[in-house]
Structure formats: structure tokens, C-alpha cells
Symmetry: C2
Subunit: 286 residues, 2 copies
């Protein structure tokens, strides 16, 4: 190992990991080093390009803080997040598919009852969301914990605002027959944060930063696998070009638009509103 060159360097690095005490770490790093070196060889990466890569990663690191995770954006926009999510969530046909978690979930969302308005002042047309949670055999899943979060009419999540209020974000539980229902606002498309290095990368690649309108759900119930997914709004112009590759056909649903009048919760609304019905099918945990 005294005479390394471009042909021998990869095996030399892997040999150095021969005594790694954790076999899984060794397996992961072996594959990582092989693919990293194969990439550099395949494109004949130049010293200037390597330097540009170091500068890019440094910028990504410096922009990342408690409120902004630029490395996750990088993973999302390169499709890695969706790949890892898909591999980790192989389910039998008939189960609701998972999609990317995204960077806007927060712990400690306010607990609500079915029927509550969870918007808490978030801007947007009222939307009444309802559906049923079952298992694969159609059995209702009562008391499932449902976390829901979404962007407002301007495309921002509450956590992107200056004040710390929870808006359009809630935790509630399914009823004995598996049903759930709440009032919120209509989800709108929005661009992922694109004022940093990942945004520059997208622009250089001729890509836009937009995500189609969607509602996030995380559903947890004893005896079932946790489901992290979105419901996407049919007709959105970005369904075929989601910046983070999260769209799955089975997750697209109709938001039905209604004129002002009687709403599903029995009230009378002076403004138009929408309704969305979506059922979730959970996979039993093994």
C-alpha cells in the first residue's frame, strides 16, 4: 500500500476498513467508497470540479441550522429521500403508500377532536377533510393517532413564519368506526426553500423548486406499521414535476369545490369551501 495510483486507490481504502468492528458500517462504507470512486472515474472528475463540490457542500453545511436543513433538501431534490422511503415502506397491494417525510413536521402539535377547525388562523379557503382508517381486511382502526400538517394559501408552513403558533397542524384520533374528520384550509403548491445552494443547483439544472399541493399525514396505531404520507391535490400543475419526487398516483385525490352555503359540519358558510375525502389502509406490523 505504498504505491497508490488511480487504479489501486479504491482497493487500498477498502483494505483499510478490514478491521472495522461493526460489520454493517463496513458494508455501508465499502459500497459508499466504491460508488464514490466509480463516480469520480466515470466522469473523470477534475481538480476544479472537486473544489467546486467542496465549496458547495460547505455552503450547504453553513446554511443548515435548527430551522433550515439544506442537506435534507439536497437529498430530497436528488431523489434519495424518496428512494429510501420507498425501500423502507414495502407494503402489500391495497395498503396506502408512503412518501417523503419532508422537513416541516414538528413535535407537539395541538391535540384536537374530530370536527375541530385546526387552521388556527392560517390563510386559505376552508376545507373539510374526512375519511376512514382501516386495515387490509377492511377492519376499522379506532383511536389511531393522526398527525396532519400543511402549507397555507401563501405556500408557507407555520414553522416558516416568525411567530411560533401552530397553524394548520394538529393531532387527533380516529373514532370507534375508524372515521376521522376535521376542518382546515385548502393546500396550495409551494416552492421548497430555494435561496441557498440547493436552489442554485436546481436552477443550474434547469429545474423548478415547486411541490404540488398536498396534505401531510402521519398515522400511528398499535399493531400496525406507522404510515407517513401525503394526499396530493388532483389537477395541480406540478404533479408531474414535484421537486422532491414524492408523488404516487394512489395518493392523488379530488378536492371538491363548493359555493357558500351548508358545510359538512352543519354550519352555514358565507364563503366558498372545499371538501376532501381520503381513506387510509394500514399494514399490520409483523
Amino acid at each position: 500500500m505504498r504505491n497508490l495510483d488511480e487504479h489501486t486507490i479504491t482497493e487500498a481504502v477498502l483494505a483499510r476498513h478490514g478491521d472495522a468492528p461493526d460489520p454493517r458500517l463496513k458494508e455501508v462504507m465499502t459500497s459508499l467508497v466504491r460508488h464514490l470512486h466509480a463516480f469520480a472515474r466515470e466522469v473523470q472528475l477534475t481538480e476544479a470540479e472537486w473544489e467546486a463540490g467542496i465549496r458547495f457542500l460547505t455552503e450547504v453545511g453553513h446554511l443548515t441550522d435548527a430551522k433550515r436543513q439544506e442537506f435534507i433538501l439536497l437529498s430530497d431534490t436528488l431523489g434519495l429521500s424518496m428512494l429510501v422511503t420507498a425501500m423502507a415502506n414495502r407494503k402489500p397491494a391495497g395498503c396506502t403508500e408512503a412518501t417523503v417525510f419532508g422537513p416541516f413536521f414538528v413535535e407537539g402539535a395541538p391535540v384536537h377532536h374530530n370536527g375541530d377547525d385546526v387552521a388556527n388562523g392560517a390563510s386559505g379557503e376552508p376545507c373539510f377533510v374526512s375519511g376512514r382508517i382501516t386495515g387490509l381486511d377492511g377492519e376499522p382502526v379506532p383511536n389511531a393517532e393522526i398527525e396532519v400538517w400543511q402549507a397555507d394559501s401563501e405556500g408557507f408552513y407555520d414553522v416558516q413564519r416568525e411567530d411560533a403558533s401552530h397553524r394548520a397542524r394538529a393531532r387527533l384520533h380516529s373514532l370507534p368506526d375508524g372515521r376521522y374528520h376535521f376542518r382546515s384550509i385548502v393546500a396550495e403548491p409551494y416552492p421548497i426553500p430555494h435561496d441557498g445552494p440547493v436552489g442554485k443547483m436546481l436552477a443550474a439544472l434547469g429545474r423548478h423548486p415547486w411541490r404540488p399541493a398536498h396534505l401531510h399525514f402521519m398515522i400511528t396505531a398499535p399493531g400496525y406499521e406507522r404510515l407517513v404520507t401525503h394526499v396530493f391535490r388532483d389537477g395541480d400543475r406540478y404533479l408531474d414535476s414535484d421537486a422532491v419526487f414524492g408523488v404516487r398516483s394512489s395518493l392523488i385525490a379530488q378536492w371538491i369545490h363548493h359555493g357558500k352555503g351548508a358545510a359538512p359540519d352543519g354550519t352555514h358558510l358565507d364563503t366558498p369551501f372545499s371538501t376532501l375525502e381520503f381513506d387510509f389502509v394500514l399494514n399490520r406490523s409483523s
Copy 2:
């Protein structure tokens, strides 16, 4: 592109880069995405491992500043830097080989004349370094700019010390016959900075952070390719396990130890000293 899954996601990402205006960027990103996804599939990367990766890169980014480049350390310790260096410096047989640049070069090193002591107070046994710079046909290369830098007896470069003095770092020029000579100190092995995430990675892989003793050279002359290389000290215990994979057999040389007495510069030394003779052969630029 509405129904992405673990099998279709890679081609979906690449299709999105179809309109990238810069063909080289498109080529590099195509290979990068393919290898990144192939890595994740090959090891069936879990969500927890992906999260650990995000945390690791975040730590690397946060430790990186003007004086500490943890991403370069990461590239160095995974052998990527040496691979890129080797690919960028293919030279005819007989030319001095290149090796990694490292993070300790600084612009503006003090200018010295041949024969000067460049240690400037750096601790270590005196070392008299000399040699000749030629082209492949043996022609002397006069007036080549030679930058030299190295660690002291405690394994630190001047830039790692609190005060900003240049020590054991100099710029000088070869004489009309291509020869150069200066006084400095004996180079010693040292660990790369390993109090950060890269150090933790090395420990988890059962690797040590040490580099064998070496002297850095960067040599520039009109009509020739710039040469960035080290001279390694024969007998060093880390020659077979350099933490950054920089060793090439042709760059190993003898530091010859002498008792106190007459030194090569004509002075009489009251302490032991060493001498090193190393010739460099430059490649003509095309």
C-alpha cells in the same frame, strides 16, 4: 412521472435533468445520481441510517470554517482526493509523481534565498534539504518557484498555532543549474485533526488518523506543469497506512542523520542534524 417507486425513481430524477443547459454539469450529475441511488439500493439503506448520514454531514458542515476544512478531510480519508489528484496528474514515466495538496498550504509564504534557514523558530532537529529540478530530458529548470511547507516536531503546521507567524514554510527559486537548497527542520508524523466527525468516522472504522512524516513541495516553472507533491521520510511507521492515502513509493527518501559537527552550509552545529537530497523532474506543459 406520477407513480414513483424504488425502481423508477432514478430514471425520473435523470429525466428531470433533460433540459440542463450545461452539458458537463448534466454529465456529472447523471453519474452522481446513478451512483448515489445504486449505493442506497445495494446496501438497502435504512431510514435510520439515512438520518445518521444527514446528521454526520451537518456536523461536518458546522465544524468547517476558514481554518478547518472538514469536508476536505472527509474527501482525503475516503481516498477521493488522492484519486482526483492521480487522474489530474498523469505524467510520463520518469516525472516526479504528484500527491494530495492537503489543507495546510497558505498563500503569501515568506520569500527566501537558497541557503536560508526557513524554520523561523519551528521546533525540530535541523535538516538541510537540497536537490535539483530538471525536465524529463535532464535539462535544468532555473528560476522555478518552489513552495515548501511542513509540520514541526510536535506535528503541527504554523497555521494550526495561535499566533500567525510563518514557520517552516517558504518560497524560493531554483539556481541557474536547477539546484535548490535550504535549512529547515526534520518532518515528523502527525495525526490529521481528529476531534470532529471525520475523527469519529475513522475510529468507528478501526482506522488511525496518522500521516507519515513528509515535506510538502509545490513547484512552478514556465513551460512545465505545476507539480504538487510530498517527499516522505523512509522508515516512518505510517508509510503503509497514511490516513489520506498519499504515499507513492517514488516519493520516499532517506533523511540521513548526522552527529554534531560540520553542516552542509559550512557552519558548525552543536547538535545532531539531518540531510535530505531530493530531485524533482517536471513534465512539460502541452
